[in-house]
Amino acid sequence: MGLGTSLSCDISMNTRLSADEIRKYQNSELIRKLLNGAKTIAIVGLSDKKERASNFVGSYLKSEGYTVIPVNPLKQEILGEKCYPDLASIPVPVDVVDVFRRPDEIVGVIQEAIAIKAKAIWMQLGIVNRDAAELAVKNGLGVVMDRCMKMEHGRYNGNLHWAGMNTEIITAKKVSRFI
């Protein structure tokens, strides 16, 4: 878990966001801070189907050492973790709420996240809801939008370096990215 201390720069990728929005909602410093600092991640809309993107993200984050809490009202247990019907039912503090829901369901999720005092909301790849993002920012939450948490983690900690990714980390120091 966690990331190295080295430098990085930003490369733009396919996203629906404008350049201004990228600076705000895909900010590499915020992303690295969240990935480094978070211990407990609630995943809203986590599927138990192995081929779904949410299942990839959940199993990856779990194997990287994060505590993953599934939020899915239809299941008892996913990835070997107890499921909760909503954020309010989770009995422990949540650092990041990672969301796999349709854009029009995001406002509700954010209201719940604010209520449980989560530190940040992370809207997965393909999910864009600007009003909801604004609401979260106004309430002091960190916001990431239209990005994949697994991909970002793999990029910065070097796991995706193995797959030829431009991690943009440049350093001559003997640091390890595999902390």
């Binding site: 430098l7 991909m151 431009n166 980390i169």
Partner: protein
């Protein structure tokens, strides 16, 4: 220390993709000459095979030395990632296999390396993928060739033997308007002279055998993805992958879906993998890329100017020369110079252009007669008496190769020695 520093091209040539490891501190990139990798546990191995975790399984799919090369070239081209392959031809094959299904079509410039032309025209037929070649000199030809079945537009930064420069803005706006990715072979320019992703290309590929290696010591290729093309409705990337239990590469890997699919399906299944030792040679090549390219460009311009002014020379096709049709375009897309590979023709002696070219080549002392380009050493080839010697003059004409055509890849020797060699060969054939 600024968190956001944008490091320069030369710094990234030397450092991108490699962090000295904490156990050995090796400053040079280690050569991981291994086929397999020890798994932490059976569960971990399973998650790697399912792509739920990222890591090394087997060198046919990925390798730590190769990963350094891949990240470094991705950084230099300004892409989101890269995939190295066993050759330039393999880079083309893997790109097209990843993007196309049987029955799909693509449109390519006819100003292509001959081996690529043949692969597209003949071998792709066996995959039921159809190419439409267009004369790239007129943008209207591209426009007319695009149909609902078109999946890719394809061209080379510098096309040979015409020395044409690709119309990046024209063709990339066409690609965007039609939702088709534009793929560019940037072999003859290298990312130091031109970065097609900055001019609207979506994917770049190379025969890394050439200027990237730089010393003629390995056969290799590489594919670099910008990560900017929207593959959300692109059939080959966004439909379920049967071998991976209906995994959707776009949904799961987002902007990295093309490269993951290219690696985990096309590279894995064609087996056209680069060896770790060759990756090491490419890494060494990249470390001096800018320095070599500056001198290649300088020597090539001096040689081309010498030839242009020589009374025995009929024509020179080189976009670095002011009279080339694409000189203005070259200045825009290749501001440091249009590379160091170009063709020229000698005025026929005894009305026999083929024999004239052959004789000239035989008399060169310093230019190596080699079917390659992009070496530090100067290379020369006369297609009509070598690669195309079985063709009649009529057939040569159809293949767009003049019988007198000689191609040079100008290297890094002392420039006066190169000019001396050419002059003495002219002298020898005129006797």
């Amino acid at each position: 220390m600024s968190e956001k520093r944008k490091f320069g091209f030369e710094t990234r040539m030397l450092h991108a993709g490699h962090i000295p490891d904490s156990y050995s501190g090796s400053r040079a990139v280690p050569i991981y000459q291994t086929a397999g990798y020890v798994f932490d546990s059976p569960e971990y191995a399973a998650s790697l095979f399912e792509l739920k975790q990222y890591g090394n399984i087997y060198t046919r799919i990925s390798n730590p030395t190769t990963a350094v090369f891949e990240e470094r070239i991705a950084s230099l081209e300004g892409g989101t990632g890269a995939l190295a392959t066993a050759s330039g031809q393999a880079a083309q094959l893997i790109t097209m296999m990843t993007l196309m299904n049987p029955g799909d079509e693509f449109v390519a410039s006819s100003h292509l390396y001959g081996g690529t032309y043949t692969q597209f025209e003949h071998t792709f037929k066996k995959l039921s993928i159809k190419v439409h070649f267009v004369d790239p000199m007129d943008i209207k030809n591209w426009e007319k060739a695009i149909t609902p079945k078109t999946r890719v537009l394809y061209g080379e930064t510098i096309g040979n033997p015409q020395g044409s420069v690709f119309d990046f803005e024209g063709v990339s706006s066409l690609a965007k308007a039609n939702g088709i990715p534009l793929i560019i072979d940037n072999t003859l320019a290298s990312p130091y002279l031109c970065r097609p992703l900055e001019w609207g290309a979506d994917i770049v590929l190379h025969s890394a055998t050439k200027f990237i290696n730089g010393h003629g010591t390995s056969i290799a290729g590489v594919i670099i993805d910008s990560g900017k093309f929207d593959f959300s409705n692109y059939p080959a990337i966004s439909s379920p992958s049967i071998p991976y239990h209906n995994l959707n590469f776009y949904e799961t890997f987002g902007h990295y879906g093309f490269l993951m699919k290219a690696r985990c399906e096309s590279l894995r299944d064609t087996g056209a993998t680069i060896s770790p030792f060759d990756s090491f040679l490419l890494i060494q090549g990249l470390e001096s890329l800018s320095v070599r390219m500056d001198r290649h460009v300088q020597n090539a311009l001096a040689v081309a100017t010498f030839l242009k002014n020589h009374p025995m020379v009929d024509w020179v096709n080189f976009a670095s020369l002011p009279d080339h049709v694409h000189h203005a375009r070259a200045k825009k897309y290749l501001p440091k110079g249009a590379g160091s590979v170009f063709a020229f023709g000698i005025k026929a002696l005894n009305n026999n252009p083929r024999e004239t070219g052959k004789k000239f080549l035989e008399n060169l002392e310093l230019f190596s007669h080699v079917a390659n380009l992009g070496d530090c050493k100067s290379l020369v080839i006369h297609p009509a008496s070598t690669t195309h010697q079985q063709l009649s003059d009529e057939e040569l004409k159809r293949a767009n190769i003049k019988p007198e055509l000689i191609r040079l890849s100008v290297g890094l020797e002392t420039i006066d020695d190169l000019l001396w060699d050419l002059e003495q060969a002219f002298h020898a054939i005129s006797r």
